[in-house]
C-alpha cells in the first residue's frame, strides 16, 4: 500500500475545461450577464458575480424516454395505501408518482445552474460584441487641464526649485578644471611648514610659505560653489487630461414612460457608465428625473418612482446646469450627458430647451446623447423634442430605440457618429 500526498500537485486541472465551457456557453452567459446587470445598480455593473443560466441552453442531449406512456415505480414509505387504491394524480412536478419517476431518469435538478464569474469575465461578457476596444481607439475630444511637467534644468528659478545634485556636480567639475587646491593639500603644507619650523629648515620654510600663500590665494579666488554652477529644476506647462468624469442621467419619468422604456434607458446608461469607467479614474453619476419640474435623486428613486404631471425638458437641463455650476467645475470634470425620453414635451418649452442645450450644455460637455425610447412596433412619427434637437448645430448624438436588443448597436453607433461629426 502506498499513501501519496497529492495536495501539492497543481490544482486547477479543470480550468481549461472551464474556459471551454464558458466559450461554449457564450451566448447563454451573455444573455444572463446582461439580465443580471439590469437588476444591479449602475455603479456595480462591472463587478463579478454569480449568474444563473438555464441548463437546456447548453445541454448534453441523450436518448431517453419522455413522459408519454405508462410509468411504474416502486416507492418506499407506504402508510395507508392498500392494493387497488386509486390516488388522485398529483400536479405535474409533484414529489410523488410521475414526478418522482422523472427525477430518477434525468437525475433531476438540472434545470438551471449557477456560474460564478470573476469581475473580468463578467465585464468581457457584458461588453462582448460591443467592439469596445474599437471605441477606445477612437479619440473622444476631452477637456484638458494645464499641469506642470518636469523638463530639464534652467539657470534661473526660485530657490525652492534648486537642483542641488546637479549644482554640486557642476561645481565639482569646475573646481577640478581650474585646479582649485583641495583642502587636505593645504593642511599637509601647513603641517610640513610647522615641522620645518621646528627643525629650523629655513629654506624649506620659505618655499612652503610661498606655496601656502599661492594655494590660499587660489582657494579664495576659485569659489567652492559659483553662481554659474547653480541650476534650477525646470517645469513646463503641459495639457493634462482630466481623470474624472461626471455622467448626467436625465430621464423623463412622467406617466407616459413605461417600464419597458425605463429598462431600455437603464441599459443605455449602464453601457455609458462602463465605457466611461474604462477611460477615467473616477466617474460620478448624477441622476436627474423630471416631469414638469426636475429633481436630483438617487438611483433607486430614479428608476423606480413614477410621477404624474406634464413634461418640461428644460427643467432638467436647468437642473443639470445648476449642478454643474455648483459641484462640477468645467475645468476639472469631463461632463457627459445622457438623456432618455419618450419625446414628449410641452409645446411652449421647445424654444427654451433648445437654447439651454445650445448655449448651456453643449459647449461644456464632452458628449451629449439623446435616446428616444418607444414601445416595440410603434410607428409614431419622430417626436417634437427630436425635431428640436435635430435643429441644433452641432446636434447631440441621437437615436431612437424600441427594443432591448437595439441598445447595444445604438450605443456603438452613437459613438461612431459622434466621431464622424466632431473632428476637432
Amino acid at each position: 500500500m502506498y499513501v501519496i500526498d497529492r495536495r501539492l500537485n497543481p490544482s486547477g486541472k479543470s480550468l481549461p475545461n472551464r474556459q471551454r465551457f464558458l466559450r461554449r456557453a457564450g451566448h447563454v452567459l451573455r444573455e444572463a450577464v446582461r439580465n443580471v446587470s439590469v437588476e444591479r445598480p449602475i455603479r456595480d455593473v462591472n463587478e463579478g458575480g454569480v449568474v444563473i443560466i438555464p441548463a437546456h441552453g447548453i445541454g448534453e442531449p441523450s436518448f431517453h424516454v419522455g413522459q408519454d406512456g405508462t410509468h411504474s415505480r416502486v416507492l418506499p414509505g407506504n402508510q395507508e395505501f392498500l392494493e387497488g387504491d386509486r390516488l388522485a394524480r398529483p400536479p405535474m412536478g409533484g414529489g410523488r408518482g410521475r414526478g418522482a419517476g422523472k427525477g430518477s431518469y434525468k437525475g433531476g435538478g438540472e434545470d438551471e445552474f449557477r456560474v460564478a464569474l470573476s469581475a473580468e469575465e463578467f465585464l468581457t461578457l457584458f461588453l462582448e460584441d460591443l467592439e469596445l476596444p474599437d471605441l477606445e481607439r477612437r479619440k473622444l475630444s476631452q477637456t484638458e487641464a494645464v499641469g506642470l511637467r518636469r523638463a530639464g534644468f534652467q539657470k534661473t528659478g526660485s530657490p525652492a526649485n534648486l537642483a542641488i545634485s546637479r549644482t554640486m556636480r557642476n561645481a565639482l567639475s569646475r573646481r577640478m578644471a581650474l585646479h582649485r587646491p583641495r583642502p587636505d593639500d593645504l593642511e599637509r603644507l601647513i603641517e610640513a611648514l610647522a615641522e620645518a619650523e621646528r627643525e629650523g629648515k629655513y629654506k624649506d620654510i620659505r618655499l612652503l610659505r610661498g606655496l601656502i600663500a599661492t594655494h590660499s590665494a587660489r582657494t579664495r579666488a576659485i569659489p567652492y560653489i559659483d553662481p554659474i554652477d547653480i541650476r534650477y529644476r525646470r517645469y513646463e506647462p503641459t495639457p493634462r487630461p482630466i481623470a474624472q468624469a461626471v455622467m448626467f442621467c436625465i430621464m423623463d419619468v412622467s406617466g407616459s414612460m413605461t417600464e419597458h422604456m425605463k429598462d431600455m434607458a437603464k441599459r443605455f446608461f449602464m453601457l455609458l457608465y462602463v465605457f466611461l469607467q474604462k477611460r477615467y479614474k473616477q466617474v460620478e453619476v448624477v441622476f436627474i428625473r423630471h416631469t414638469d419640474h426636475a429633481k436630483e435623486v438617487d438611483e433607486d428613486n430614479f428608476f423606480q418612482s413614477r410621477e404624474t404631471g406634464g413634461t418640461r425638458v428644460s427643467s432638467a437641463l436647468e437642473e443639470a446646469l445648476r449642478i454643474i455650476g455648483e459641484r462640477y467645475p468645467v475645468s476639472e470634470w469631463n461632463i457627459y450627458i445622457a438623456q432618455a425620453s419618450d419625446g414628449d414635451n410641452e409645446t411652449g418649452d421647445h424654444e427654451r430647451a433648445m437654447k439651454l442645450m445650445r448655449d448651456g450644455l453643449m459647449p461644456i460637455s464632452q458628449y451629449v446623447a439623446y435616446l428616444e425610447v418607444d414601445e416595440p412596433h410603434s410607428d409614431m412619427p419622430l417626436s417634437s423634442l427630436w425635431k428640436t434637437y435635430q435643429n441644433l448645430d452641432p446636434a447631440p448624438s441621437m437615436r431612437r430605440v424600441t427594443m432591448r436588443q437595439e441598445i447595444y448597436p445604438v450605443f456603438r453607433d452613437l459613438f461612431r457618429r459622434r466621431d464622424g461629426l466632431n473632428v476637432e
Binding site: 500500500m1 502506498y2 499513501v3 501519496i4 500526498d5 497529492r6 490544482s11 486547477g12 486541472k13 479543470s14 481549461p16 475545461n17 472551464r18 471551454r20 465551457f21 464558458l22 466559450r23 461554449r24 454569480v50 447548453i58 448534453e60 442531449p61 441523450s62 436518448f63 431517453h64 424516454v65 419522455g66 408519454d68 406512456g69 405508462t70 410509468h71 411504474s72 415505480r73 416502486v74 416507492l75 418506499p76 414509505g77 407506504n78 402508510q79 395505501f81 392498500l82 392494493e83 387497488g84 386509486r86 390516488l87 388522485a88 394524480r89 414529489g95 410523488r96 408518482g97 410521475r98 418522482a100 419517476g101 430518477s104 431518469y105 433531476g108 445552474f113 449557477r114 456560474v115 460564478a116
Partner: protein
Amino acid sequence: MSARLFEGADWSFETIQRIYERVEDIALRDLKLDVYPNQIEVITAEQMLDAYAASGMPIYYGHWSFGKHFVQHEGQYRKGHSDLAYELVINSSPCISYIMEGNSALMQTLVIAHAAFGHNHFFKNNRLFRDGTDAAGILDYLQFARSYITQCEETYGEREVERLLDAAHALMSHGVHRSPRRRRIDFKQEQTRAQERRAHDELMYNELWQTLPGGNPRAPQSSAQERLAQMLELPQENLLYFLEKTAPRLAPWQRELLRIVRLLAQYFYPQRQTKVMNEGTATFVHYKIMSELHRSGDIGDGAFLEFLTSHTNVTFQPAFDDRRYSSINPYALGFAMMQDLERICIAPTQEDRDWFPQLAGCLDPMEALKDIWAHYRDESFISQFLSPRVIRDWRMFHLIDDPSDAHLRVESIHDERGYRRIRRALTREYDLSYVDPQIEVIAVDLEGDRHLILQHAVREGRLLASREASEVLGLLADLWGYPVVLREVDEHGNGLREHICEPRHAQGFQSGLP
C-alpha cells in the same frame, strides 16, 4: 484493551499507515476479502472538485462538458448546497482511493474501509467488472486517449474535435454492448491496434459504398437486404460501434475518437449496472470493519458515534412523500438487503426458509455474500434476493401511472400477494436494457439517398422525449453524413412516431478528410 489507533480528529501519515494496517488485517483475515493492491492519495477539496468533473478519473481528455460539470459542482459546493463526497475510488489496478485532507481521522478510517476494501473487493471480484473492464490498463488508455485527442485538436482544430465529441457523447448511452463480450477489452493493445487499424483501412476498399452502377440489379431484393444486414451486423444496438465501423463519410481519426468514447462508455457501463450492489458491498464492508474496530477497542466510543452519524446519513432513505425523496438510495437498499441476507444465514425464520432455502441457516454469511458480490448485478441481485422482510421494513408499494386512467393505481403493497410483484417491478427499474430506450439500427437505404433507419421499440407507450431525441438524431445524422430516420414502433409493430433528420452540415464531418 489495546491502544487506540488515534485520538481526536487530527491525523498524520503515520496515523493513516497505522489505520490502514489494522483495517487491512480485519478485511483480509476476518472478512477474507480479495483486493487489488491499494494506493491512497491525499487530496484537497479543490482537487476533489477537479476529479469530480473528469468522471473521477485522474486523467481525461478535454471537453467543455467536463467544465460544465465542474462549474455545476463548484457552484453547489461554494454555496454550501452540497458536500463533497468523502472519497472517490477508481476501478484500476492498483486501486486508487482519494481521501480529502479535511476529513477527520475517523472519516479517513471509514473511507479506507469503504473504498480501499469494500469497493476494491467488488471491482476485483464482480463478474461484470472482471469481464467488462480492464482495470490494469485503464489509466494508460486514458493517457493515450488524451494525447490522441490533443493531437487531433492540433491537427484538425479544436472546433472539429469538439463537434465530433459532442455527437459521440450524445450517443454514449447507446454505445455499449449490453451482452457480455467474448473477448475482454485489453486497453494495453488498444494503442497498437489503433495504428494497425488505420493502416488496414487505408489498404481496404469498401465495396459497399461504391456508387458505380453494376452488380446484378435483378437480384431479389430480400436477399440483397439480408446480405447487407449480415455485412453490417444488423440489427445493431451499439450505435457508436455501428458508426465507427460503417459511417461512410468519417475520417480515420474521427472513427478513432468514436472508438475512444465507446470504449470508455463500455468501461463505465458496469458501474451503472451495479450501483446498488457496489455501494451496498462497500457499506456492508465498512460497517463490519468499523464495528470490529470498536469491539477490539481500536477506536473509542466517541469515534464510533461519529461513525454511526455518517453511516446513518449515508444509508438514510426518506419516504416517498418526504420533501427530500428523489429516488431509492442505492447505499440504503444495498446495505439493507445485505444485512438481511446475513440475518437469513444466521437466524432464519420460517418465511426465510421458504424463500431462500439454499441460504437460510447456512451459518457462513460472508461466503454467501462474497458469492453474490461476484456473480450478480443490481437487476439479478434484486430479483433473487429482495426478501419479504426488507419489503416490509421499507413499506414498499408499487404505483402505476397509466395516462389512460384518471388516477394513479396502487398495484401492490407489502403483503403476501405483493412481495413477488413488488420484487419484479423493482427489478425492472434496475434493468438497464429496460430503463434505457431500446434503439437499434435496422437498415440502411442503399438504393436511394443512403438514409439510415433506426427503430425504437416502444414499451407501454413510453415514447422518447421528443425535443432531445431530435437533437441527438441531428448529431447522429452529422456523423452518418446522410439523413437519419428514427421510427418509434410499439409491441405490435405499429409505427407511433417518426423523426427524420438531415445532416446539418452539408459535408457532414467530411472536413476532416484529407
